[in-house]
Symmetry: C3
Subunit: 162 residues, 3 copies
């Protein structure tokens, strides 16, 4: 085994390990959204977004980390979770390309009603992420109800949105 | 450190990284099923199966990639998603052994009814996969309703099905 | 490239691969809980806990692996799953620190009622895990209904409890 062989194998390993690390980092970031938003923590939820990251979801059109913070802190959201709610996201399918990543998952908004819970919404979620300052951040998230409309179904591919 | 030491450590790393890569590849393949089938994309869903892969689920007994394609393209499926539906799969538990893999997860079929969604079925899913031509493919999937029957509960172990 | 460079790069890779391996092992352990408990397998569920591991969930306060075994084997649990039930856990958010790990996820208890399923409970889950004898084991799990109470919402951070 020559020094060149060692170098090539180390480089290949470093590249693969970097790819796996990114894949898991993005998967974990998305897995943290539901628990944090249901805990009602504006700081932690907002930190998942980039400073000018956006989040479009029925009734809300947030255009920055500060607006995501405001949504979580709002009476509307705090009352929702005080009544008993789970923003239940499914496992994300994640594609990483260098410093860019795309992910999709489905979600259920489950709300307490009397002695049980009801599914108030099933949603399609598309995430665009970017590594900024060495940390993965959401630069765009679009969520739509899976009500049969083509607009929602078009979100379900982990590729760049038009 | 001798050249033999370096070789042994490189080989161990390559083996472990290969294992993690396979684990994540199978997990991601399964995570893509729900979004793709709810998007209504016959090509992409069918490509998850091997050419002669099978998929048994109540009312359907598909025996090839072409039959999976036909199911997704069918009026029955297209009408289901046009009415608002999520094939919501939970996180898969995956066991990889060389070129074979076994995975299980639970699933919910959530359908729109008026202004909310209802859980039309909770299911047990067992996947058998094989690496074919360098790409993981489903060679067999069995899904049964979690209605209390032992047949469904027997699917919930990520080992070979007898 | 000097022998010291090779040593440093190998060591960095080994450390990173170890971290990814742990991350996936804990994620997989948690992903196996729902399928195993719905299969009704007391041995396999109990083996996820350490010998003196605990599990607190409404109506149950288990203080050992043996008590987890007894819960799964109990008439109460066996009747629940015989009626059709899914303990549907979402993707876990996992933080590993050496031989300790913390994880959170949300969960839905879905039960059959007539020709459909209802969400009988949405829950917050916090797991404390420890590597014991080279194997990750749950040393403490706390699950509470997401009914709006702060106690449940406080569980949703993958850090040590209190």
């Amino acid at each position: 085994m020559t020094a060149d062989d060692v170098e090539a194998r180390l480089r290949a390993l470093e590249q693969q390990v970097g790819q796996l690390t990114d894949q898991i980092a993005v998967t974990q970031l998305i897995a943290s959204y539901g628990p944090l938003v249901d805990a009602g923590s504006p700081e932690e939820v907002a930190a998942l977004w980039s400073e000018d990251g956006s989040y479009q979801v029925e009734g809300w059109n947030m255009r920055s980390r500060a607006e995501v913070h405001a949504m979580v802190a709002s009476d509307a959201h705090q009352n929702l979770i005080a009544g008993g709610a789970a923003h239940f996201l499914g496992p994300a399918q994640v594609n990483v390309h260098g410093d860019d990543a795309y992910a999709v998952c489905e979600s259920l908004l489950v709300r307490r009603r009397d002695d049980r819970w009801v599914v108030a919404r099933a949603g399609a979620n598309h995430f665009t992420l970017r590594r900024i300052g060495g940390r993965w951040q959401i630069t765009r998230r679009v969520t739509r109800a899976l009500d049969g409309a083509l607009e929602a179904r078009a979100l379900l591919t982990a590729a760049p949105l038009d």
